[in-house]
Amino acid sequence: MKVHTMAELMMAGETPEILFWVGCAGSFDQRAQKITKAFAAILDKVGIRYAILGKEEACTGDPARRAGNEFLFQMMAYQNIQVLNGYGIKKIVTTCPHCFNTLKNEYPELGGHYEVTHHTGFLQQLIEEGKIKMKEKGSFSGKKISYHDSCYLGRANHIYEAPRKVLEALDAELVEMKRCRSNGLCCGAGGAQMFKEDEPGQKRINMERADEALETGASFIAAACPFCNTMMTDGVKNREKENDVAVMDIAEMILTEME
């Protein structure tokens, strides 16, 4: 499998159908890299001509902006928009809801206009179009999966159905947590919390959410965000349930079950 960068395609005089925005977690975090590779593998299998920015990609600025550092955010946005517009990018798909939200909702008024999709929506479309076909008897068949809503997909962008529709293709039993969809509880990572210790309190937010997920009795916790994934994985490990319950990204689940 060969992953091309925009620079390489440009040199070859080609334009991809879509840009895969990998994001910082997807690029550097060891766990999130697996999600990146899984999604890239799906794109490859389906035969979509895509490219990444590679070394030219930079943080969208989301954590800086939400921490309060607007200067840093604007600097990152300026750089990214220069690069994206320079390549004439029209369509972007990303595996990170934070990148998705910033690219889709916050870059337009700074001069960056793109059609941005989150990979759950993208996968849903591929499944509906029949481009992704699932194995007859998959390994998730009959198993319980609980989907954890990412705040930046759900409340921030009203995407509740796409990830669930994708999971339905796995022929598994979807079980909802008590707080789901618009009432979903945050994993604790948003607003730049990922990069600092929790404030003093009685419990970590990811433990509260992991406990709720474990209560469903599901064997798989499905996530659609690399940060939620880390938080939920830590929570499950902390309760010493990592041998019974796996935290997986929706892209990883689809890849293992694709024909």
């Binding site: 690029s27 590779k37 070394k55 990609e57 939400r66 909702n105 009432n183 509260e208």
Partner: protein, 437 residues
């Protein structure tokens, strides 16, 4: 002497409405101490929000039972106030049940309808009093409400019970007087609920009944005027403010943060110096330290808050025992704004009092606990965004005071130098490709 009651009534009405109007004008002035922002686009969408969220109370229906009970109080309260129109006209002209003759049997239907609602309101107010004070519902026993806010909530419920009881007793005595053939009391037909309580008063003399009926009438209308003037000091102001607040609610997706064009331009001028105008002045402040630097919509939010605590009950930080409570953010903003308003009343203009919303009212620890998950915004039945205030205060902390936890400073410098929040070399950003090749 014949006109004395009418004169007293007129004075009472003018005073009641006059004092209320003055206070509302003051609240309006306070709200516009905030930064200007144009929120008049897409009027169709805004009217839809007003009808669905304010009039239809859509968000309340996340819990249908409570929503229906709340709707009974709300509908009862609003519809019964139609009857206040008759009371006011009777008061001004010295008449009695002015609408009874012209409306005929419709009048009986109307009053019966009002009585039905009045009984509903009393029943629900009792349930709500019990729910607030006996059931240990976390958002009601929270320390956010210690002191005045908790009493305020109870006063409102008790006042509504009293007002509705006065209305029913008034009707009950009226019917006894009708039955006794008192000419002043028109025959109106039977009122279903007050008929049931009439026997309690049947032993009373004609003159006592008239006194009781008149007392109820006077207390009912005085109560309404007093209540009207209590509103601006109470969480109950939401019955008015929910409407403009729904209309001016932000229409963008909740995930979008407000842009800071001033900072956007500063960055642009730094990157492309040729675009910088010669007279570009740096903005006066970054983010909000005090109410003046918030948008007027944030301040309207503060006056609209019902202190119900749905935001706080859904807040992941609060649920896990952190100091942050979105409800407290809104209450603090209103308290500070009221304080600033009093300051202006006294000195004709704002005189620095050494206080500010940030630090004096809202601490750093509260702000730092927010995950920007939008749960508070999603929950609010009256279209408030506590998150916007939190984020504006965070901007002030970082950009004005350079006040960030050490970990965030590292994150910032990593983003700036390595283009990622972690200390990895930007050259390794596509390392994962080499792993799979």
């Amino acid at each position: 002497m014949h006109y004395l009651p009418q004169i007293i009534f007129l004075v009472l009405s003018i005073a009641g409405i006059g004092i209320f109007s003055r206070k509302i004008a003051e609240i309006r002035r306070n709200i516009f101490l905030g930064k200007p922002e144009n929120l008049n686009n897409q009027p169709g969408k805004r009217i839809q929000n007003l009808l669905l969220l304010a009039l239809g109370q859509k968000k309340m229906f996340k819990n249908p039972l409570v929503a229906i009970m709340h709707l009974v109080i709300y509908a009862g309260f609003i519809i019964i106030n139609l009857e206040v129109l008759e009371i006011i006209l009777d008061g001004v002209f010295g008449t009695h049940r002015l609408f009874a003759a012209p409306l005929g049997s419709l009048y009986n239907w109307l009053i019966n309808g009002f009585e039905f609602l009045a009984v509903g309101v009393i029943a629900v107010c009792i349930v709500f009093l019990l729910r607030r004070n006996l059931i240990k519902l976390k958002r009601f026993i929270s320390k956010d409400l210690d002191g005045w806010p908790r009493s305020d909530a109870n006063y409102i419920l008790i006042t509504e019970i009293i007002l509705m009881s006065l209305f029913l007793i008034m009707n009950a005595t009226d019917q006894l007087l009708q039955a006794s053939g008192n000419e002043h009391y028109h025959i109106t037909g039977v009122f279903f609920f007050s008929q049931k309580i009439a026997p309690v008063f049947s032993g009373m003399s004609q003159s006592s009944l008239v006194i009781l009926e008149r007392t109820c009438w006077w207390f009912h209308i005085t109560g309404i005027f007093v209540f009207l003037n209590y509103l601006p000091y109470s969480k109950h102001l939401h019955i008015i403010m929910a409407f403009p607040n729904a209309y001016y609610a932000r229409l963008e997706l909740q995930g979008k943060m407000n842009n800071m064009p001033a900072v956007q331009n500063e960055v642009l001028y730094a990157m492309q110096p040729e675009t910088a105008p010669n007279d570009a002045a740096p903005p006066a402040h970054f983010g909000a330290k005090d109410v003046f630097e918030l948008s007027w919509k944030n301040l309207l939010d503060a006056y609209s808050c019902t202190e119900c605590g749905r935001c706080t009950a859904a807040c992941p930080a609060n649920i896990t025992g952190k100091l942050l409570s979105p409800r407290k953010i809104m209450m603090a903003t209103r308290d500070r704004l009221e304080e600033v308003g009093k300051n202006i009343n006294t000195h004709k203009q704002f005189v620095d009092d050494g206080k500010s919303l940030l630090h004096t009212y809202i601490t750093i620890e509260e702000l730092r606990a927010c995950t920007t998950c939008n749960a508070c915004v999603e929950q609010c039945p009256v279209s408030i965004s506590p998150l916007e205030i939190i984020l504006e205060l965070r901007r002030s902390l970082i950009m004005e005071e350079s006040n960030a936890p050490q970990e965030w400073n590292s994150t910032f410098s990593n983003i700036e130098n390595n283009f990622a929040p972690w200390k990895f070399s930007p050259d390794d950003r596509d390392q994962w490709i080499r792993d799979i090749e």
